[in-house]
Assembly symmetry: C2
Homo-oligomer: 187 residues x 2
């Protein structure tokens, strides 16, 4: 799938604000890929598509999780806000025939993170957090870290994400905690 | 083992400050047990003994973890500050023949917590945090919660413990996160 086709596809499926966010993630991911030695074309494509099913109903996403044996049922025990990530990867595979495992993996884990993230996984995870449209407490610190070190920025994002969930008394998906624990003291 | 024997045993093995802390945990645990319907004698005993091997060397504790098939090797991937909890239970079983599974379980999980904690598990976990000698930011809030609800106090302790570890960029043991996730929205 070409980046321009991906852009048109999400323009159909997302409201204006989320579409603009996706353009920002795509652009930021491409720039991070150039800086940190991943493939910019894959980063731009995964960034463009990462939220493609964000506005599907919970029922539709739940059905997809139950149908796809490669999506963990454990997602159903956690916030439905997490579901669009693995379901987005499944959707672009089924709908557009995207079979690049690196692109699909980066889309799948863009919200939770996981252990053993590839550079591309880290780039999409990070771009989603720091794209220019984002404006929340702490984002500038992560942007600054991203200018120095991909790992430092991803670690900070994991740390801030988990603290934010705890502050709101929400569950933390195990993959997120495993990503954090793995990176403690590792860079 | 009688509570007075337990007191003498820890007096031999712990420095003054930790001994005083243990008396406080024992007393607080007994009081919480009376309030929340657990057995006060078990609570006082587990509280008295919970830190019994706290001043054993890391090498000795590591050897115990490797030798005992009922202690997860995964502890070795996390801070050695966690090791005295399961090792304390193993030690009192081997040394004093304590075989009460409730006492041993409460000692084992007093630092990390876990899913499906019993009332006694929660009481020892909580008493360790709020005994009168404790004085750190947030402890008063947990003490107040403990006067209203065991679950609310344990949840607050888990939340504060995890945030504290994140602030210090330290790993979080999976049992602790599982305990937190299980309690989110459950009371």
């Amino acid at each position: 799938m070409k980046i321009e086709e991906a852009r048109r596809a999400i323009k159909e499926l997302l409201p204006e604000k989320r579409y603009t966010h996706s353009l920002g993630v795509s652009e930021t991911a491409g720039r991070l890929a150039e800086k940190y030695g991943a493939e910019p074309a894959k980063a731009r494509l995964a960034g463009m598509l990462h939220d493609i099913v964000k506005y599907f109903s919970d029922e539709r996403l739940e059905a997809m999780i139950r149908r796809r044996s490669d999506i963990s049922d454990n997602y159903l025990n956690y916030s439905s806000k997490l579901w669009h990530a693995p379901c987005g990867a499944a959707y672009v595979q089924e709908t557009y025939g995207i079979d690049d495992p690196e692109v699909l993996c980066a889309m799948t884990y863009h919200t939770t993170g996981k252990r053993n993230m590839t550079e591309l996984d880290k780039i999409i995870f990070l771009a989603d957090y720091i794209e220019p449209g984002r404006d929340f407490p702490g984002v500038e610190e992560v942007r600054e870290a991203a200018s120095r070190s991909l790992n430092e920025a991803v670690f900070l994002e994991l740390q801030k994400t988990i603290v934010h969930l705890l502050d709101k008394r929400q569950k933390v998906y195990p993959d997120t905690m495993e990503a954090y624990n793995e990176m403690v003291g590792s860079f």
